[in-house]
C-alpha cells in the first residue's frame, strides 16, 4: 500500500517537473517550426534581398520578396501609436499610482483592465465605423483606411500595457525616498517629478518598450483599418501595410511549400526576433534596479 502511494507521488512529481520546463520547450518549438518552414525561402532568395528589397510582389512573375515596405509600414504605424500612447500612458500611470484617491484608483484600474480585455477585432470594427470615416472627412483624404487610423487604434491597445507596467514601477520606489523629499518641504508634485520618476526611469522605459512590442505584434485591428497597401515613401495619411497584416492577409491564399508560403514564415521569424529582443531588454531593465 505504502509502495503504491510512494509510486503515485513520484509519478505526479515527475509530471509537475515536466510541466515546469514545458514553457522552455514551447518557446523552442515555436522558433524551430518558424525556422523549419521559413528557412526554405533562402534557397532561392538572398537574405539581403529579403530584408532590404524594396518591393513586396509575392505573386508576380518573377515574384519579389522584399519586406522593406512592410517594415516601413510597421515603423510608421508604431511611431504614430507611440506618439499618442506614451505620454498618455505614462501620465495616466502617474495619476493612478500617485495622485488618485483610493476609490477612484480602483475604478480607473478596472477601466484600464477592461480596455486591455477588448478583443482586437472589436477595436478594429470600432475603428472602421468611427476613426476611418472621421479621418477621411477631417483631413480631406480619399480614404480613411490609413496608417494614421491604425496608429490611433493601436495607441489604445498599447496604453493598458504601458499604464500597468509603469504603475508597477512607480510603486516599487521605496517610501523613504518620498518621505525624504517631503521632509525637505517639497510639494507632492515636486516629489513626483524630481524624486519618484527619476528613481523608476528604467521601469518607465521598460513600460514604453513593452507597449511598443504590443503594437508591433498587433494584427487584426491594424489589418482592418490601415488599408493594406505595401509601398515605400508614403506618409501617415496614406494606406500602409504592416508585417503582421501581411501574414494574416496572405497566408490563406498561399500554396503550402511555395516560396510565398516560406516568405510569410520568414516574416514570422522577423517578428518573433523583434518581440523577443524587446521583451528581453525590457525584462532586463525592470530587474536591473533590484540588485
Amino acid at each position: 500500500m505504502l509502495k503504491i502511494g510512494r509510486f503515485k507521488e513520484t509519478l505526479v512529481e515527475g509530471i509537475i517537473k515536466t510541466s515546469g520546463i514545458a514553457s522552455i520547450f514551447v518557446v523552442t518549438l515555436i522558433f524551430f517550426f518558424l525556422l523549419k518552414e521559413g528557412v526554405f525561402l533562402f534557397k532561392t532568395v538572398h537574405l539581403h534581398d529579403f530584408l532590404l528589397g524594396r518591393s513586396w510582389y509575392p505573386i508576380s512573375d518573377p515574384p519579389e520578396f522584399g519586406i522593406l515596405p512592410l517594415i516601413y509600414g510597421t515603423l510608421l504605424v508604431t511611431a504614430g501609436a507611440a506618439v499618442l500612447a506614451v505620454p498618455l500612458g505614462i501620465g495616466a500611470a502617474i495619476y493612478i499610482a500617485e495622485v488618485a484617491p483610493p476609490k477612484l484608483k480602483e475604478i480607473l484600474k478596472s477601466g484600464i483592465e477592461l480596455l486591455a480585455a477588448i478583443p482586437s477585432v472589436v477595436l478594429g470594427f470600432i475603428g472602421i465605423v468611427t476613426i476611418v470615416p472621421w479621418a477621411r472627412q477631417f483631413f480631406h483624404i480619399p480614404t480613411g483606411l490609413t496608417a494614421f487610423s491604425g496608429s490611433v487604434i493601436l495607441a489604445f491597445m498599447a496604453m493598458p500595457t504601458i499604464v500597468s507596467i509603469a504603475e508597477d514601477s512607480l510603486h516599487s520606489v521605496p517610501k523613504s525616498y518620498k518621505e525624504g523629499a517631503y521632509a525637505l518641504g517639497a510639494t507632492r508634485w515636486q516629489t513626483i517629478y524630481r524624486v519618484v520618476i527619476p528613481a523608476c526611469s528604467s521601469g518607465m522605459l521598460a513600460a514604453v518598450m513593452l507597449g511598443i512590442g504590443r503594437v508591433v505584434g498587433e494584427t487584426m485591428a491594424v489589418m482592418m483599418v490601415t488599408g493594406n497597401s505595401a509601398s515605400l515613401a508614403r506618409g501617415i495619411f496614406s494606406p500602409a501595410r504592416t508585417l503582421t497584416a501581411t501574414i494574416a492577409a496572405e497566408m490563406g491564399e498561399t500554396v503550402q511549400g511555395s516560396d510565398h508560403y516560406f516568405a510569410l514564415f520568414s516574416i514570422g521569424i522577423v517578428l518573433f526576433l523583434i518581440t523577443f529582443a524587446i521583451n528581453m531588454t525590457a525584462d532586463f531593465m525592470i530587474h536591473r534596479k533590484r540588485k
Binding site: 507521488e9 512529481e13 509537475i16 510541466s19 515546469g20 520546463i21 514545458a22 514553457s23 522552455i24 514551447v26 518557446v27 518549438l29 515555436i30 517550426f33 518558424l34 523549419k36 518552414e37 505620454p87 498618455l88 500612458g89 501620465g91 495616466a92 502617474i94 495619476y95 488618485a100 480602483e106 480607473l108 478596472s110 477601466g111 484600464i112 480596455l115 480585455a117 477588448i118 478583443p119 482586437s120 477585432v121 472589436v122 472602421i128 465605423v129 499604464v163 507632492r188 508634485w189 515636486q190 513626483i192 508591433v216 494584427t219 487584426m220 482592418m224 501574414i247 494574416a248 497566408m251 503550402q256 514564415f265 514570422g268 517578428l271 518573433f272 523577443f276 521583451n279 528581453m280 525584462d283
Partner: protein, 283 residues
C-alpha cells in the same frame, strides 16, 4: 514663467487627470457605441439560428458554438499544464539558471505576436501532426497562447499562501504532495480561478491564432467532432466587417455585442473574484 509650487501642483495634477480620462473614457465610448447599436439586433433567433443568405440574415449560432468549443479545448489543455508549471515554479524549483530560463520563456510566450501563434499552430498542428484545420488545432494553438496568463496568475496565488501553512502540514507527517494538495492549493484557488477566467476571455476574443488553424468563413452547421472546422465569433466579426459587402450594420454590431459581452463578462467575474477574496484574506 514659473508658477508657485502649490499652483504648479494643481495644474500638473489636473493635466494628469485629463490624460487619464483620455485613456479610460474611450472604453466607455466603445461599450456605449456597441451596446446602443448592437442590442437591437439581439433576439432569440439571432442567437440560436444559422446564418442565412451568405451571412446577411439569420443568426450566429455556429459562431457562438465554435467559440465555446475552442475556449473549452484551450482551457482543457492549458489549465492542467499551466497549473502544474506554476506548482513547479513556486514549490519545487530553486533559484537557479533553469528557473530564470523558465521565467524568460514565459515572458516570451506572452510577447509572441498573435499571428505568429497562427503560423506556428499551422506548421505544427495542422501540417506536421496532420490534424488539419480543425477545432483540435485551433484549441491547442489558443491553449499555448494563454499558457502565460494561467502560469503567472496561478503562481502568484500559490506564492501568496503563507509558508506556515506548509510547515504545519509537513510537521503533521504529510508528504510534500499531500501538503500542496490539501494545505496550499485550496487557499490559492481564487487566484487560479481568476487566471483561468482571464485566459478564457483572452482565448474567446483572439482572431489571428485561429485564422489558419480552424476558422471557417461560412459553415452553416454545427461542428460534429474535434476534427471539424468551425466558425468563431471574432473571426465572424472580422468577416462581416471587411469581407462581405452589404451586410446590415445591425448584424455587425450585434455580433460585436455578443463577443464583447462574453469577453467583458469574463473579466468582470475575474475582477470580482479577485477583489472579493483580497478583502476577505485572513492572513
Amino acid at each position: 514663467m514659473k508658477f508657485p509650487p502649490p499652483l504648479a501642483q494643481k495644474i500638473a495634477f489636473f493635466v494628469l487627470f485629463v490624460m487619464t480620462l483620455f485613456v479610460v473614457l474611450p472604453v466607455l465610448f466603445v461599450m456605449f457605441l456597441i451596446v446602443k447599436n448592437g442590442i437591437g439586433a439581439i433576439s432569440w433567433e439571432f442567437l440560436t439560428a444559422m446564418p442565412k443568405q451568405g451571412m446577411r440574415a439569420g443568426g450566429i449560432l455556429p459562431a457562438i458554438v465554435g467559440t465555446f468549443y475552442l475556449v473549452a479545448g484551450a482551457i482543457l489543455f492549458a489549465l492542467p499544464l499551466g497549473l502544474f508549471a506554476a506548482i513547479y515554479l513556486s514549490e519545487y524549483s530553486q533559484d537557479t539558471w533553469l528557473n530564470r530560463a523558465i521565467r524568460l520563456a514565459i515572458i516570451n510566450i506572452a510577447g509572441v505576436p498573435s499571428v505568429v501563434f497562427g503560423l506556428f499552430g499551422f506548421a505544427l498542428f495542422v501540417s506536421f501532426f496532420k490534424f488539419g484545420a480543425s477545432i483540435l488545432s485551433g484549441s491547442l494553438t489558443l491553449g499555448i497562447m494563454i499558457l502565460p496568463v494561467i502560469i503567472t496568475s496561478s503562481r502568484e496565488a500559490i506564492d501568496a499562501v503563507p509558508g506556515a501553512f506548509r510547515e504545519v502540514s509537513l510537521s503533521l507527517g504529510a508528504t510534500k504532495l499531500q501538503t500542496i494538495r490539501h494545505a496550499v492549493l485550496p487557499h490559492a484557488l481564487p487566484g487560479i480561478l481568476t487566471g483561468t477566467i482571464l485566459g478564457i476571455g483572452r482565448a474567446a476574443g483572439e482572431t489571428a491564432p485561429i485564422l489558419f488553424t480552424v476558422a471557417a468563413f461560412y459553415l452553416p452547421r454545427l461542428p460534429q467532432s474535434i476534427f471539424d472546422q468551425a466558425m468563431a465569433l471574432p473571426y465572424h466579426l472580422y468577416v462581416l466587417s471587411t469581407q462581405v459587402p452589404n451586410v446590415d450594420v445591425k448584424i455587425r454590431y450585434g455580433t460585436a455585442f455578443v463577443l464583447l459581452v462574453i469577453v467583458l463578462l469574463m473579466n468582470l467575474i475575474a475582477i470580482t473574484i479577485r477583489s472579493h477574496f483580497r478583502s476577505k484574506k485572513k492572513w
